[in-house]
Symmetry: C2
Subunit: 108 residues, 2 copies
């Protein structure tokens, strides 16, 4: 997993935090296929994801319109349905406008 | 780890994403102590954290002023210094204004 090189703010972050259920059947395949699909969406800038007892996935987008289009994508809607029915006991989605960013990189 | 119950937007999210270095000496203790300290800061609303090959920690704050005060806290500055010198090869910090949120919870 890499830290995403996002453009100069402002842009948007979708912060997805979820508690997994016992049933993770088909989750991995769906996660891979949703990321592939998201990459084809206009305005998608990248995503960062870590999965342990809590899953956190942050995806970055150019605009609210791009996020809305992704939300209503038919395949994505089916994935959301599986998420609620099978994979997650709870989740929260926060739409946030990134206003500033700063970085550190170790000098080799 | 729990999903944080944040208030009605707007509020702020600090998205911290980092690649860990080989040297994790003292990291765990510092992470625990920084979370304790953050909890005592005015305007702190909670944090979510997952740590794998990539660390993602999101902390939530009432205002930009609260974030600024935490950034300049002396103990926190020392932790930041250790982070750059020892624990991380790279990190990115994004300051974002949460404008909307929605949740799902499985009905028992």
């Amino acid at each position: 997993m890499k830290i995403v090189n996002t453009p100069t703010p402002p842009y948007y972050a979708v912060i997805f935090t979820a508690k997994s259920s016992a049933n993770q059947n088909g989750y991995e395949e769906m996660a891979v296929s949703m990321l592939e699909l998201a990459k084809q969406q206009p305005g998608f800038l990248g995503a960062e994801s870590v999965d342990d007892t809590l899953e956190i996935t942050i995806s970055y987008w150019e605009s609210l319109e791009a996020i809305q289009a992704w939300k209503t994508n038919a395949d994505h809607q089916e994935a959301q349905k599986y998420g609620r029915e099978k994979w997650y006991t709870a989740y929260k989605i926060r739409i946030a406008k990134v206003e500033r960013e700063y970085s550190f990189e170790y000098e080799k």
